[in-house]
Symmetry: C2
Subunit: 126 residues, 2 copies
Amino acid sequence: MGIIRKTQSVALLLDEFNTNSGAISVTTLNKRLNSNLNKSTIYRVLDKLEDDGVLHSFLGDNGIKWYAKCEGCSHDNHKDIHPHFQCVVCGKVDCLNVDIVVPKIPNREINSTEILIKGKCETCLN
Amino acid sequence: MGIIRKTQSVALLLDEFNTNSGAISVTTLNKRLNSNLNKSTIYRVLDKLEDDGVLHSFLGDNGIKWYAKCEGCSHDNHKDIHPHFQCVVCGKVDCLNVDIVVPKIPNREINSTEILIKGKCETCLN
DNA sequence: ATTATTAATGCAACTAAGTTGCAAATATAA
DNA sequence: TTATATTTGCAACTTAGTTGCATTAATAAT
Ligand SMILES: [Zn+2]
Ligand SMILES: [Zn+2]
Ligand SMILES: [Zn+2]
Ligand SMILES: [Zn+2]
């Protein structure tokens, strides 16, 4: 079930995503907001925002959970699927607007594909 | 640093990979071997086997760590990179001998790519 | 505006994966 | 057989994430 009431917690979390480009890890959100929000609340609100199609989540390096804003998703049509790029230098993670073709696999049915590309981001290249 | 002594622990762990096809999660290894091996030992031996190019590791669903045998890798040349497939029904994970082309990304340097494909495996298709 | 209803929150306690320091055990070299 | 250095078990710890429940607060009803 998604968000029902427009609470302070929801506003605070959405603000993080509106004032930052790129994805934000749950650990970062916890560090930034722990004076205002309990970690249970953070996990629960993020989960609901994902359910509503406002955010999407994925796993970054070391299996840490990241969230980023969706574009054009809703509860019913939650198809913001794309690869993610994590900089090995600064740790920043971005959504990539790139199509990667996954070939059909014999005798298997593909439901989804999670792609994490690691390398150096624009600012860390030089 | 890799394996130096041929210990009981190494033999027990290697045996798991020799008698099973596909990848094995660390949680499964811990459950199977906890009467014979301490979990610290399991983590440490797996880490060394990976360093030696005997096994490779990757993250499956929910960020759980999996290991599988390498083919033709060594400590110096550890390039057993390929996508992995996890069955959403039975949870089994396999290495895929498939090439997926990742296009160049403008202003970014790509070091590596982790691809996890989820779907139904051969035995769970029907 | 006041009250009632129910979702959302904080808190504390918990689970599970993974790590670490150190003493004891064991594989290998001498 | 003894010496040495690696490996192991253990216990204690860290961190991400979850859960039950009483309290708080947003919304609906009056
Ligand atoms: Zn960077
Ligand atoms: Zn994204
Ligand atoms: Zn299956
Ligand atoms: Zn593999």
